[in-house]
Structure formats: C-alpha cells, structure tokens
Amino acid sequence: MTQIELRGIEKFFGAVQVIHNLNLAIADNEFIVLLGQSGCGKTTTLRAIAGLETIDQGDILIDGKAVQHLKAADRDIAMVFQSFSLYPHMTVFENIAFPLRATRMSSGEVDKSVREIARVLWITDLLDKRPSALSGGDMQRVAIGRALVRRPKAMLMDEPIGALDAKLREEMRAEIKRLHVKQGSTTIYVTHDQIEAMSLADRIVIMHEGFIQQVGTPDEVYSHPANLFVAQFVGSPVMNIAEASVTDQAGAATVTVGDAAAGFEFPRALLSKLNGHAANGGLTLGIRPEGVLVRRDAAPGYLPVEAHIIEPLGSFDIVDLQVGSKMLRARTKAGYVSGPGEKVHARIDPEQAHFFDTASGKSLGVRL
C-alpha cells in the first residue's frame, strides 16, 4: 500500500521556475506516466520525489507522511535511470544485491532475493556476468531488478528505455507492463514518448513548461484533450488543428476550416454546445487524421478536396487534403488514394471533432 501525494510543489533553478504549483495524487499500485518534452519539469518532479532534488515549496507525502525533508536513502523508493547506472566493477548479481547490502539482510537472504528477482526477469544466467558484457535490454532488466529487489514502496523510472533502439524499446515496454501487472507497485514513469505513455499508463500526467496540462487515463487524454498542447502532443500522426468558424445554415451547423469556400456539416446541437463561441470567432477545430473520412465518390456531407502528399505507413496512409489554404491530414486504407492530385471527397466525423478556444487554447468540452 503506497500512496504518493504531491501538494503545491514549486521548484526553482536559480531564477527560473521549473515546477509551478504541482498537485497530484497517486493511488496505490497505480502506474503513472509523466509525459512531456524535455525541459517540461517531469524529470525534476521525479527526482524531487526520489529525494535527489530539493523542492522550494510544497509537500511530498508518501502514505500520508511528509518526506520532503528526508534523505533519498530514507524514503524507501527505488529508481531506474535512463543510463541504467549499473556499476561496471560489480557482477550482475552484486549489482542487484547492492541495495540489499545497505540493509542488515543476511547473505543467505540476499542470495535468495536476488535469485528470485532474477528469475522473474529471466536473467538468472546473467548473474555472474559484468554489465559491460550485457545487451542494452539485459542491462535494463538488471537495472529494474536492482530497483525491485528490496520491494520498495514505489518505483520511479526516468526514461528507462529511452536509450534502447526502437525494436527493443517495444519489447521492454511490454515487459515493464508485464512486471507491473505481476509485481504490482506504485510506479511513476517519466518519458517524452507518447506511445510509451499510452501503452503503459493507468493515468498520464502531461506536463509543459512546469505546469500540469492534463491528468487522465490514456483514453481520456487521447479522446478528450484538455487543451491544444495536449491535443497536439498526444497521438500520432498529429491532430489537425485549424481555426474554424461555425455558421447556422439550413437547419445544420456548418464548420468552415480557415478560408475554405465550403464548410463541413455538423449536427445542429453543436451551435448550442458552443454557447456563442461560434459567433465571436477565436474558435479552433481539432480533428485527428482518423476523424477525417475520405471517399472516392461523392456523398451527402462530403466536400470535394484534392490530395497532395501521400505518406504510406504500411497498414495505412496519411493523405494531405487541401481544404482552402489549409492541409487536412486524413488516415486512409493503404493505397486508397492512388496519388497526388487525385480528387476525392472528405468529411469530418463530428464525434471525433474537438473545439478549442484559440486564445487560451483550452478545450471547450464539446462532445457530439
């Protein structure tokens, strides 16, 4: 049982404020991912929880107890670093046993614990090797083993698989997930990779410039981004963002993207939900490529558009469609649009459309 709570955390590096009034409650056994670009404060937050960084304001509570004044060693938290930080002069066994040697555990118990964790991580046959003889993935397994071996209150992971190549990252991602399900411990995981975040997290905390932008399940941040930053940061390919205007035409709402001649049809309910935002401008439409529906032949509600660049991505294509002076990226079946210049028809799926206030970037929370 480990709950972690951050209350009003502020952190300065000199005159620069890197964390602004950060509040976050993490439940027992939860897998939390701090997601953001480099410099957003996610690693600093993690290091503050670990006790490697002091905070200037606020409380860090572990199981209700304030720990911000405790040394790292006294917080009973384990951390996995991006660089793995395996000690080159020790064998894999000694590396994993290292945290246990700080306790008064007998060598027999140490041996048992190390072998137990090695078995879980499938690295039993590596125990006598030195870290330099290991592959990147195995190094990471050892580093995770070292973190897990003393059954800490919480696991902190700072881009643990960021240094691996793409294929191995995918493997390790699955393995970290498997371990979390199996071992179960409160985990805080820092990454800039939104795919890692989506696939691992119970809840994602998206940070930008020291502020939390949104906290939510992967589905929430993907389907209901709180603001333009989250909308564009989460999801690949990136969400289409365009200034739009909404008019009331013949019993339906029409959403016009930028300076396009014609608009996309939306249910009339949009007008009331936008609550006047449509009239005074400053409205931004966000639509993911899969929300842009493409047909070869004309159909009601579909606008004629011209295809520009086509990016084949294997199982699907990303097609740039010219709408007015804007490009709208659509996701189509592979080869559906044969080539640049082809005339096709497109529609925006109202259910997948997001509306933001242009000035503040905040989502207007419109769900159709």
């Binding site: 670990a50 006790g51 490697l52 040394k71 790292a72 060693a73 917080r75 009973d76 938290i77 384990a78 951390m79 670093f81 660089s83 930080s85 000690y87 080159p88 002069h89 290292f98 945290p99 700080a102 306790t103 070292r146 003393r150 902190l156």
Partner: protein, 318 residues
Amino acid sequence: MAAVRTSSEIVLNRAAIVAVLIATLIFLAPIYWIASTAFKPKDLAVSVPPTVLFQPEVTPFVRLFTKRVQMQKTVDPQAYEAAPWWEKRIYDGGERVLKVGTDVQLSQYPDRFTNSLIVAIVSTVLAVGMGTFTAYGFSRFKIAGEADLLFFILSTRMLPPVVVAIPMFLMYRAVGLNDSHIGLIILYVAFNLSFSVWLMKGFMDEIPKEYEEAALVDGYTRMQAFFKIVLPEAATGIAATAVFCFITAWNEYAFALIMTNRRAQTAPPFIPSQIGSGLPDWTTIAAGTFLFLLPVAIFTFLLRNHLLRGVTFGAIRK
C-alpha cells in the same frame, strides 16, 4: 589471413615497426648505459670507445653499500683468504671495508634510498588521497567561485620551484622543518596536489553522477556511495595520478638538495655527492642510479593496465 592487405600496406606496416624499434633503442640507450656501467669493472667504465662486451661483476654494488678506505699497504694474505668473496673484490681494488669489530659499516646509500621511498610513498598517498576528495567535491557540488578556486590551485604550479626554494628554506629553518621527512613530504604534497586535483577532476567528471544517485536512492549515504561506487570507478584515474605523483616526488632534486643534508636526504641529491674528490668512481654511481630507477619501473609496470587506460580515459569524450 582473412583481411586482405595490399603490399603497400605491408610495407608501411613494416616501416612503422622499424621506426618504433629505432625509437625504442634511442630511448633505452641511456638506460642501457647506466645499467651496463653498474656492472662494469672500474677501468672499463671510462674506456674510449665504450666497451659493449665485458665480464659483468657486482663489485660496484658492493662498493655502493659499504664504507671503504684506501689501503696504505698491501693486504695481509691471511685476512684476504678469510674474507668472503665480495670483500676480496674490495681488496682487489686496493681498498678495505670499514668495520666496527666484525660488523661491516654500511654506506649511507640504503638510508638515502629508504628516505626516498618514505617521502615518495607518503607524499603520493597524501596527494592522491586529498586530490581525489577535492576533485570529487569540485566535480559533484556547486561551489561558489569554483573556477577561481581551481585556478588558484593550479597557480601553485606556475612558478618554477627553484624561485621559491630559498624563501622556503628560510621558512623551513625557522619552523624546524628542514632536513626532516615531514618537511619534504609537505613540500611534495603541496607541489603534487594541484596536479592531482586537476587530473582527478577530469576522471571524476567522467563518472556518471547517476551511479551515486542510484546508490543514494538505494539506501546508502553519500559517504558510502563515494567509497563503494566512486572510488572503484575512479581506480584507473587514481592509478594514473599516483604514478605521475610518485615519479615527480621520486625524481625531485632541487628541493631535496636545498632542504635536506643528512637525516632526511633522499637519493637524488645523495648519488651525485658520491662523486667526491679525486677520480670519480662512475661504476658505483651507476649502480646507485640503476637501483634508483627500479622502484619507478616496478611501480609503473604494476599499474601499466590502469595507466594505459588512465591516460586516455580522461581525454576522450563519450
């Protein structure tokens, strides 16, 4: 051979080997000269042209370690017969070994050599130890005026030692540190410390700080992390720094000459003092020099693996 090599590559390779051999011969020539002279009979030491092939003998070493006087008359045949082989060699040279009763009087060389060992080892341990701690501090913590402090430490090396030798001597005499081991050790530590700090800082900077952070999170204090993680990781750097400090302290001549004369005198100023008056005995001096070369050679040889990695380690950025 799996690798395909062109004939020009082979020629270049052979040329490189020859060049290295020639360079090695040039560098080893003085050492051969000293080493061979240490085993030569007296008259061959100064022969022109130099003798290359000769019957080696250890008489110079016997002379090096004993106190002797010129004999006024020829040796008593009975005494000659009773003497051990090494004493006969001395008699052969027209000298006799000084004795108190039956105890052979040793020369000052063993004492001077021991002094050298004491001063060099203690000063190296202190300089490297203090340098390692200091470098760790500079490397890991934000220190106000860090750059200025480091420059200050380096600036102690900017004056040639001889410039400060006289004032140092007067100061040392005033506080009674002249001709003492501790005085010489303090001097050498002060001299080597700047070097040690700078070199070790380079090595410390190369050790990722995540190593200690991992240890800190895993329940260790910073001190424990330093001894369990940083020191083993820095072993290479420590070895390299130790070799350099040891060589500097071992070879130091100017301060040793000025600051010491009897009790704490080290080998470097002692060896040339044996030249004395009259005809210099080069073979005995060469024997002393030859033995003096050995500790550095052994020390460097023992640490050769560390050294090879060590001197390149700090220079290459990953």
